[in-house]
């Protein structure tokens, strides 16, 4: 029997390189693919893609596997960046990683892999795929199912997540043991596709600054100015350069009037919600269900109890949840299985 071929997305980071190594050790014929999603340099910001690409290729060379570069820039801009900008324009807080997984990695990339002869497709995500079900990774802290809840069952059936049973420290150790230079690479932060860039700086490239007032909700006083209400997220603490005193949190925004409201009161009513209405609700199994479940309101947030009502879109939390923004995803679980999720409307 000939070897099964698996295409693995190599990003140049430690996770995907160890994923490739593990697949090779497991006896697969491995092909590494770098997805070129973004190569534009923004003013004063360095996009690290060239370095990432070189690192990805180094891994392929180290493992003596084939290496391909697929240019998805145009589609990526249309499906992910544009979507993100449009959502921000509407005053929402979208999650580009969720859309990237849905549209690029587990659709465009996936289909392209199959077209090019892949039996399976793999990525370096911390998650598990079992019989078409998406399970949380063993390393709860690294679990990335929050970003993956919009993928389809048919895709999962042919997807391998080699890191699902590993902890990050083990992955790094494996990289070191296999002499993969990615072992000690600094993890990227900021906007996923651009590199070490704060979302607000990135948005600043696309939206003109529109100066407006920052108003203390409790006193009604103007306590500062901002460059655009769109740039602020509910519950956000950082980046409100108001100086001194108690920290301020964004409690509300008026996009039309370009006003940002803040509060020093962590328990401020407007920041806490008992229930939300979801849109774009997606169930991986294809069979919507309602009732009690555990949910995660953001990546790495603790699991909390909630009930999805029979209408399939109203989610009622057991206890109030803080700082929920529209555009943000909420992901449903039962046990270790990721059922799906939806977007706060």
């Amino acid at each position: 029997m000939s070897k099964k071929t698996v295409f693995v997305g190599l990003s140049g980071g430690v996770d995907s390189s160890v994923a490739a190594k593990l697949l090779q050790d497991a006896g697969y014929e491995v092909v590494g693919v770098y997805m070129k999603n973004w190569s534009k340099d923004l003013r004063g910001m360095k996009c690290p893609w060239a370095e990432d690409l070189a690192d990805a290729k180094r891994v392929a060379v180290r493992l003596m596997i084939d290496f391909l570069v697929w240019d998805f820039e145009e589609v990526y801009f249309d499906k992910v960046v544009k979507y993100m900008l449009d959502e921000y324009k509407l005053g929402k807080t979208p999650n580009p990683d969720v859309i990237c997984n849905q549209e690029i990695k587990f659709k465009l990339f996936f289909d392209e892999c199959l077209k090019n002869g892949a039996d399976y497709v793999a990525t370096g995500h911390y998650a598990k795929s079992e019989n078409g079900q998406l399970m949380r990774a063993k390393d709860e802290k690294k679990d990335q199912t929050y970003f993956l809840y919009r993928v389809e069952r048919r895709t999962l059936e042919r997807t391998i997540f080699p890191l699902g049973d590993l902890r990050k420290t083990e992955v790094k150790q494996l990289a070191r043991d296999s002499q993969l230079h990615t072992a000690d690479r600094k993890e990227s932060m900021g906007v996923c596709f651009v590199g070490d860039v704060e979302m607000r700086d990135f948005l600043g490239e696309y939206f003109d600054a529109k100066y407006g007032e920052i108003i203390d909700e409790q006193t009604g006083k103007v306590v500062g100015h901002h460059k655009g209400a769109l740039f602020y997220t509910l519950g956000q603490r950082h980046g409100l350069y108001l100086g001194g005193g108690l920290p301020y949190y964004v409690s509300a925004r008026d996009i039309k009037q370009n006003k940002v409201f803040v509060t020093t009161d962590l328990n401020c009513e407007s920041l806490w919600k008992k229930s939300v209405v979801l849109e774009k609700v997606h169930f991986i199994s294809g069979k919507p269900s309602a009732g009690r479940m555990e949910v995660r309101v953001r990546h790495q947030a603790p699991l909390v109890g909630a009930t999805l009502l029979e209408d399939g879109k109203t989610l009622v939390f057991d206890d109030k949840e803080r700082a929920l923004s529209s555009g943000q995803s909420i992901v449903f679980y039962t046990g270790r299985v990721t059922l799906g999720g939806g977007v706060i409307s």
Binding site: S39, A50, E51, L53, A54, K57, R58, A60, V61, R62, M64, D66, F67
Partner: protein, 390 residues
């Protein structure tokens, strides 16, 4: 580690490093200050400039010290409206040239030499600056600067006859080549010459622009008026002293080093020939030699491994401790194909397989033989991998 990329960077000479040291702490003074210790530093700075000038047959006062060759090039182009440059120039020249209102490009021949006839036809009445690098940084081809200078001189004569007041200058970027060629700026016939300390075993971010008497330039960096007003900013005394030490050391050894490296280059090619057909590209070899050896700087061994991806080879070599550069579409160069090899008309396959190995001080018989052995090994491994797939 076997370092075969002397065209990219050179390790600083020990003497140069030692010579620089006092200027960071004990002799930290600003050369423009009035008191004696500072005056002394100024004198030492001027002496260093004279040493650098001496290596190319000019006075120190004709040199504008800069923070590297790129800045020198930018200064050389400043204020001109129309230029003519070769299409194989380093990006420092190409990008600066493109920033001028008018810019024309001279063709290169298949052997990597500039087409001087094409240059002659492309000089127009408006051309103010012609710029051709002395040694191409990818192929090592030594360009016919004297012939070019004659063409430029002929145009100057023509202009003076018809009483045209448009000036015409010749600039050459001599970043590459100073380690193996004896250069006399006056004999070369250039008005402006860019020098680079980082390529001659001196410190990086130190360079100079030779400005022939009478050539009038505009500053890029303005301020206190140092370097005859052409490059303001407190003098980089340590850097210039390091440059002077390194360059004079290098210049004294030009002939011997050229002979030594010529032998090493032949050895490298011979060693590779044990396993592969190594020959000029046109004779369909397995490893193609790029350029024309007769007019190539001895330190350059640019070649192409046909059918293979040079960047993979670079990474495989790197794993085995051999550091070389690629002329191919490489990730580090943002996927852009070498404009030099493209202009020379190399096929996509030849460009994809192109490696640039450049010899220098760190090269000797032993490591050249080892490099050839390791390169042979990785080529064979890559071929086996591709074979297995079929």
């Amino acid at each position: 580690m076997i370092y075969l990329d002397h065209a990219a960077a050179t390790p600083i000479s020990k003497r140069a490093l030692r010579a620089m040291e006092p200027y960071f702490a004990e002799k930290f003074f600003n050369p423009s200050s009035p008191y004696f210790p500072a005056v002394e530093v100024r004198r030492e700075y001027e002496a260093a400039k004279n040493t650098i000038g001496g290596c190319i047959g000019v006075k120190g006062s004709t040199l504008v010290m800069t923070a590297g060759a790129t800045e020198s090039v930018n200064l050389a182009f400043q204020g001109f409206a129309s230029c003519l440059v070769s299409e194989i120039e380093h990006s420092a020249v190409l990008e600066t040239a493109r920033s001028l209102p008018m810019c024309e490009f001279v063709r290169v021949q298949a052997n990597g030499m500039i087409d001087v006839e094409d240059l002659a036809t492309k000089i127009t009445e408006e051309t103010e600056l012609v710029s051709v690098g002395l040694v191409n940084n990818e192929t090592g081809m030594i360009q016919p600067l004297k012939e070019i200078a004659e063409v430029v001189q002929a145009e100057r004569m023509r202009r003076s006859k018809c009483q045209s007041s448009t000036p015409l200058f010749l600039h050459s970027d001599a970043s590459q080549g100073l380690t193996l060629l004896k250069i006399n700026a006056a004999k070369l016939g250039v008005d402006l010459l860019t020098l680079n300390a980082g390529k001659v075993y001196g410190p990086k971010q130190v360079g100079a622009l030779y400005v022939r008497h009478g050539a009038i330039l505009k500053p890029v960096v303005r301020g206190g008026g140092q370097e005859a007003g052409l490059r303001s900013g407190t003098e980089n005394v340590a850097g210039v002293v390091g440059f002077a030490t390194a360059l004079s050391e290098t210049a004294a050894r030009v002939d011997g080093e050229r002979k030594r490296l010529t032998k090493l280059k032949q050895l490298l090619i011979r060693e590779l020939s044990k396993n592969f057909r190594v020959a000029p590209l046109k004779s369909h070899p397995e490893i193609g030699l790029i350029g024309d050896e007769k007019k190539q700087l001895a330190s350059f061994v640019p070649l192409t491994v046909l059918g293979l991806d040079a960047e993979r080879l670079v990474f495989m070599l790197e794993e085995r401790g051999v550091l070389v550069s690629t002329g191919a579409a490489c990730a580090a160069s943002k996927g852009a194909r070498s404009h030099v090899l493209t202009a020379m008309g190399l096929s996509a396959e030849a460009i994809a397989g192109s490696l640039r190995m450049t010899l220098g001080k760190l090269s000797d018989e032993q490591n050249v033989v080892a490099a050839a052995r390791i390169l042979t090994e990785v080529i064979q491994l890559e071929r086996q991998r591709l074979e297995r797939k079929k």
